[in-house]
């Protein structure tokens, strides 16, 4: 369901569809198992195919920020669609320097 790609120490995760509480757990497990086995220098979350996200998605982003930090990597968020910009701004995660 979640496609990932690993190249040059960068783990890229292509998120898709609706990110809510129902889907967040599976996405989290998939990403964290890749983080722990690959220990990437950078985790890139690509949001270009995400059609909906609520605060569960914010929790997911903050959790991955911590998880990749624990293995010494950093988080980058890419291609956020216009319709998600309001919840992203409201959450304050822009101040984490992940964009």
């Amino acid at each position: 369901m979640v496609q990932t790609d690993y190249k040059n120490d960068i783990l890229t995760v292509y998120l898709k569809g609706e990110i809510d509480h129902n889907r967040a757990a599976d996405i989290r497990v998939t990403i964290d198992s890749r983080i722990n086995s690959l220990r990437p220098k950078k985790l890139e979350l690509d949001f270009s195919k995400v059609s909906f996200m609520d605060s569960s998605g914010i929790g997911l982003i903050m959790g991955r920020y911590r998880a990749v930090g624990l293995v010494g990597g950093e988080l980058k968020i890419k291609n956020v669609p216009e319709n998600l910009s309001r919840i992203i701004e409201l959450s304050g995660i822009t101040s984490l320097g992940v964009f």
Binding site: E18, D20, H21, N22, A24, R28, F52, D54, S55, S56, I58, G59, L60, M62, G63, N83, R86, I87, L90, S91
Partner: protein, 144 residues
């Protein structure tokens, strides 16, 4: 409040129903011809309130989540989302941005902040041990 249309649904507090609740409510408000962004706001707020019933109201148990939605003469949507779960001791504190009682479940404490920012009005009534009702309201501005 004089309503010109209404719908009432209930479903078990399973997380698969979060998407179902969003779809039902967005189908219901279609008659007001909302913009894409108004529809997205309503879906997000409904998702927040329903998720709260599921993860906080009923925690590990399965209870019933109720949605009562109305459209008023003046093109206002009113959505009541209700659980008969644990309730909230201090509603004012619960509504503070970043306040959460479920940090270890990766909750951001932003649900109420999102509802307040995406809807015109958010009302919370809760009785500890009895349950919680969140009422969301939004005026759908007709396209000029």
């Amino acid at each position: 409040m004089k309503s010109i249309n209404e719908t009432h649904i209930k479903f078990p507090s399973k997380s698969i129903n979060e998407g179902f609740a969003r779809s039902v409510v967005s189908a219901f408000v279609m008659e007001l011809d909302p913009t894409i962004s108004e529809l997205a706001d309503i879906k997000t707020a409904v998702s927040e309130a329903v998720t709260n019933c599921i993860v906080h109201g009923y925690k590990r148990e399965i209870g019933v989540v109720y949605i009562d939605a109305y459209i008023t003469e003046e093109k206002r949507v009113v959505i009541k989302i209700r659980d008969k779960g644990v309730g909230i001791n201090d509603v004012k504190q619960a509504m503070q941005p970043l306040f959460t009682t479920a940090e270890n479940e990766e909750r951001a404490g932003l649900g109420f902040a999102v509802m307040q920012s995406f809807m015109d009005k958010v009302k919370v009534r809760s009785t500890p041990g009895k349950g919680t009702t969140v009422t969301l309201e939004k005026l759908i501005v007709p396209i000029r």
